[in-house]
């Protein structure tokens, strides 16, 4: 499979791309193993690296000149180092939060992550798909019309607005 085909399939989340990348997993694992990361962490970092490339590929300005496997190998190594740094910081951190420095008025008003996660998961079709397409997969409004059957870009934009409004409204009672 050529590099260009692999990139195209990856951009479309096509399983054939994943099967192609499977061949390189042992190569991606090697530096992570040398860093002393567990099998599970290696897996997590490899998955994160592929997602990172996927996200990059959604941007029309992103240009990849190296081979996909070389690029991913580099990203895996960077993410592995980042993971180790983060873990070292967590270990060094004494665990005591300086409550006095935080402004209670600003920190207590927003819902926490679990409440937001619950609200997102409760959205249902088509709102969740629409917001995910827009905010994660970076699908343009024009393409959203085709994919989700909106009659015009304006309708897709309106639908997105309503979904986000609904989500935020659902979280309003949790604002203290």
């Amino acid at each position: 499979m050529t590099n260009a085909t692999l990139l195209q399939l990856l951009r479309q989340r096509d399983n054939r791309a994943y099967r192609e990348l499977r061949k390189y997993v042992p190569v991606f694992r090697k530096p992570l193993r040398q860093m002393g990361l567990s099998e599970e962490d290696q897996k997590d970092i490899i998955q994160e690296s592929v997602i990172h490339l996927y996200e990059k590929l959604q941007s029309p300005t992103f240009d990849i000149t190296s081979k996909v496997s070389t690029y991913l190998y580099g990203v895996c190594k960077l993410k592995g180092k980042e993971y180790l740094r983060r873990n070292r910081r967590t270990e060094q951190f004494s665990g005591e939060i300086d409550h006095e420095q935080a402004n209670p008025e600003e920190t207590q008003r927003l819902p926490d992550d679990e409440q937001i996660r619950y609200a997102v998961r409760s959205l249902g079709y088509p709102c969740r798909e629409l917001l995910a397409a827009f905010y994660f997969h970076q699908v343009r409004l024009k393409d959203l019309c085709e994919e989700m059957g909106y009659s015009s870009e304006n309708s897709a934009k309106q639908a997105k607005y309503k979904c986000m409004q609904r989500l935020k409204k659902g979280l309003q009672p949790l604002l203290s």
């Binding site: 050529t2 989340r13 399983n15 994943y18 099967r19 990348l21 499977r22 061949k23 390189y24 997993v25 042992p26 190569v27 694992r29 090697k30 530096p31 193993r33 897996k43 997590d44 490899i46 998955q47 994160e48 592929v50 997602i51 996927y54 190296s66 081979k67 496997s69 070389t70 190998y73 580099g74 008025e105 600003e106 008003r109 927003l110 819902p111 992550d113 937001i116 996660r117 609200a119 997102v120 998961r121 969740r128 917001l131 995910a132 905010y135 994660f136 997969h137 934009k157 607005y161 986000m164 409004q165 989500l167 935020k168 979280l171 604002l175």
Partner: protein, 204 residues
């Protein structure tokens, strides 16, 4: 002018750092003075981050396919790659022999699908460490027997890719510290490889 109808979109653009200067200043001014607006921006940021996190989670499930049939192969490769440091020439030679034997067992299928194997790096004068980070004891090796664009080419970085009809059993890789080049020997020919991670044609 920010109003209830355009607020969500303006906050989106603000969070993407895509607002025109004038509107960005307006948003920041309002955030400074309007506590509720500031909270709304923060809430939208958190909501978007959560949508992205949830989708990443979904995609990770899709990516489990990467590991489905690789677990066994990976542990097998780990066994073949976790070797002791090489200190003397005959140890290197022995390692090369073992690797070539292992490679024989794994015999490279010569179809168009490249596979990843490893190749030992044989030190020409036993010196190590003239490359930044040191010369690796072995490198992942990928052979592309029928690549659409390249033939008799190589790419050498963290991985050695060879484009052409190569047979792994016939490959011996060495490193020449004086020239800071790798040397590939195969079928009686000697090629000099530059570790610049670019695709180059093989030069004798």
């Amino acid at each position: 002018m920010i109003n209830d109808h355009n607020k969500i979109e303006i906050i989106d653009l603000y969070l993407e750092n895509a607002l025109p200067e004038k509107l960005r200043l307006e948003v920041e001014e309002r955030m400074k003075n309007d506590y509720y607006f500031r909270n709304e921006v923060e809430l939208q940021r958190k909501v978007i981050a959560m949508i992205q996190e949830e989708e990443r989670g979904e995609m990770k499930k899709e990516l489990d396919i990467l590991f489905e049939s690789n677990e066994e192969e990976s542990s097998h490769l780990e066994k073949t790659t976790s070797m002791r440091p090489l200190t003397v020439r005959y140890a290197i030679a022995a390692t090369v022999s073992i690797l070539l034997l292992a490679a024989g067992i794994f015999y490279f299928s010569r179809d168009t699908t490249p596979e990843v194997r490893y190749i030992a790096v044989n030190l020409v004068d036993g010196a190590r460490g003239t490359l930044p980070g040191g010369v690796p004891e072995q490198l992942p090796l990928i052979i592309y027997p029928e690549h659409a664009e390249y033939n008799q080419h190589y790419q050498l970085g963290d991985t050695l890719s060879l484009y052409g009809d190569f047979v792994v059993e016939e490959l011996v890789l060495g490193y020449e510290p004086n020239q800071e080049l790798f040397i590939l020997r195969t079928q009686g020919k000697v090629y000099l490889l530059n570790p610049n991670d670019q695709i180059n044609s093989l030069q004798q």
